[in-house]
């Protein structure tokens, strides 16, 4: 019985981790940017969805859409205000652009976090779930929202797969992650591809954020831990490898759930961290990463 419960509970949280990490790894794969404002964008989406419902009194669906829209806007803002100026800067040497993007997005994330805390306080906010109630799966009472979360995550990841592998735009994105110079030689504007990727990223992070708001609730304190968990999942899976991130998300999600059920919720994150250190030592490029 416990095993089944872990299986069900772990699936929803893992699917959510997977969705959150996919956008993060996509950005890295295509433009080599590690976006440390990731957690802030997710929280912004969730808080926007919450505010739409409880402050503006919109219905749940409009609220959720509003949240995703805010994430999209913040994502574009991150690209145009922070990342692009650093990438195009002539005063920063190329080999140091990475650390500048890291520092810049980190500061940007703190700014978003502080603005959220200023306007909406630090209190935890729970977005009203789209589906309510519980169902009984072989004797385990499971909130319908868990199943809904898992389904939406799988659906969105499936759509992303179709977009990347089956459409012209998606193929351009894929090509840019393999060989940016080759793509420009084929007459595609690299900047436009980046804009598309940041758009996809914004939507993914937005959906993940809103779902997280319904599933666990968020506060401005969740920003750091969310960024750290996406970062560790992505590194565990191999930077830039989307399928690696998916596997890693499920490994981390289940490891956390098992620890929380079998040992104690207080130790929830420790085994995943130990696993990460272990993988770093024996396989530094992550599960499916290329060097």
């Amino acid at each position: 019985m416990l095993a089944l419960q872990i299986l069900i509970d772990g699936f929803a949280i893992s699917a959510l981790y997977a969705l959150g990490a996919t956008g993060f790894t996509l950005i890295f794969g295509v433009s080599g940017v590690l976006n440390l404002s990731h957690g802030a964008i997710m929280v912004a989406a969730a808080v926007a969805a919450w505010a739409a419902a409880s402050v503006l009194h919109l219905d749940i669906y409009t609220g959720a859409l509003f949240g995703v829209g805010v994430a999209l806007i913040v994502s574009f803002a991150t690209y145009f205000v922070v990342v692009k100026p650093i990438q195009n800067s002539t005063r920063i040497p190329n080999e140091e652009k990475e650390i500048f993007v890291l520092t810049g997005t980190l500061l940007w994330g703190i700014m978003i976090q502080e603005l959220i805390a200023y306007f909406f306080t630090n209190n935890a906010k729970t977005v009203l779930p789209i589906v309510e109630g519980v169902v009984d799966i072989f004797g385990n009472r499971t909130p319908r929202n868990n199943i809904f979360t898992a389904l939406v995550c799988c659906l969105v990841i499936g759509l992303l797969w179709l977009l990347v592998n089956r459409t012209r735009t998606g193929k351009a994105v894929l090509a840019a992650s393999m060989n940016p110079r080759g793509v420009t030689l084929l007459g595609l504007e690299l900047t436009q591809i980046y804009i598309v990727v940041w758009g996809i990223y914004g939507i993914l992070a937005g959906i993940a954020g809103v779902l997280l708001g319904m599933f666990l609730g968020v506060s401005s304190y969740s920003v750091g831990p969310l960024t750290a968990s996406a970062f560790s999942i992505v590194v565990l899976g191999g930077l830039g490898s989307v399928s690696g991130s998916l596997i890693a998300a499920f490994v981390v999600g289940y490891l956390e759930t098992i620890t929380a059920y079998m040992i104690s919720p207080a130790y929830r994150t420790i085994p995943a961290l130990l696993l990460l250190v272990f993988v770093m030592y024996i396989r530094p490029q992550g599960l499916l990463g290329r060097r």
């Binding site: 922070v82 500048f100 810049g104 502080e114 750091g224 590194v235 207080a266 130790y267 770093m280 992550g286």
Partner: protein
Amino acid sequence: MANFFSSRLFFISLVCVVVAATLPLYVSGYILGLLTVAFYFGVFAMAWDLLFGFAGEVNFGPTFLIGTGAYTAGILNNQYGWSVYVCILLGALASVVAGFVLALPALRVRGPYFGLTTLVAVLMLQNFVVVFADLTGGEIGLTIPDVITINAGVNYWIALGFMTVSAAILYGLSQSPVGLVLQASGQDPVQAGALGFNIVKHKLAAFIVSAFFSGLSGALLVFYFGTASVGTVVDVAVGVNVIVSAVLGGRRTVLGAALGAIFLIVAGEFLRPTGELATFIVSAVALLVVLFFPGGFLGAALSREARS
């Protein structure tokens, strides 16, 4: 080295230190307390700059080193009541061991992978503190029975003296042949190795020196505060402040990192009337500096002097 003593930078630093040393004679204890913390933070930032600016290692976990030093010193004093100076020394030594542990992955993985490993180290330390609450005081914090002194002026002088000595040693090291080899191995490890320099040895040395100063400063800081807590010496946010200080002041300048730290702490305090927006404003200023003056305060000043 000789022309350093006749350079303008040396005189400006000397004047700053002399002026700073006379502050306790005419400013309030409140400002002294603020600057005392800022000076310890300055050492954190300088030690970080040695690793990043020179060895080229992006260490996201400066608080792993700081926290190890701080908590070791605090626990020894709290549990066994050993003398303050023994505790501080042992704290610094524990931090050196931590630096050695942190250096092991650094010699295997690079860039973001190393960054994550260091971040994980901080999270592990944080979990350790919370889980072993009997020993460490957990989330509430560890009370430290002894203090070095309760005189605000003396505390200030200790901090200033410690920062000055650390700055002299770290700056001297960065300008020495060892520093140059370190810089070369940070920028192009393959070529530096091909020139016959032992990169592993130099990087390990950089980690140990950085860890020693971080741990020493962390231990001194907890004896100043009279308490060690996750929020003051281990939290990732503290590490972020250290990194921001170093980038703000000018990476690869060592002295700039201390300037950045003092600016960050003092600005944060002066913006206190703006309430919760203080952190927002400081981060926004730091972001503007990163975007428009990537060399940082000291970097911008030095390049202007070099041009004129």
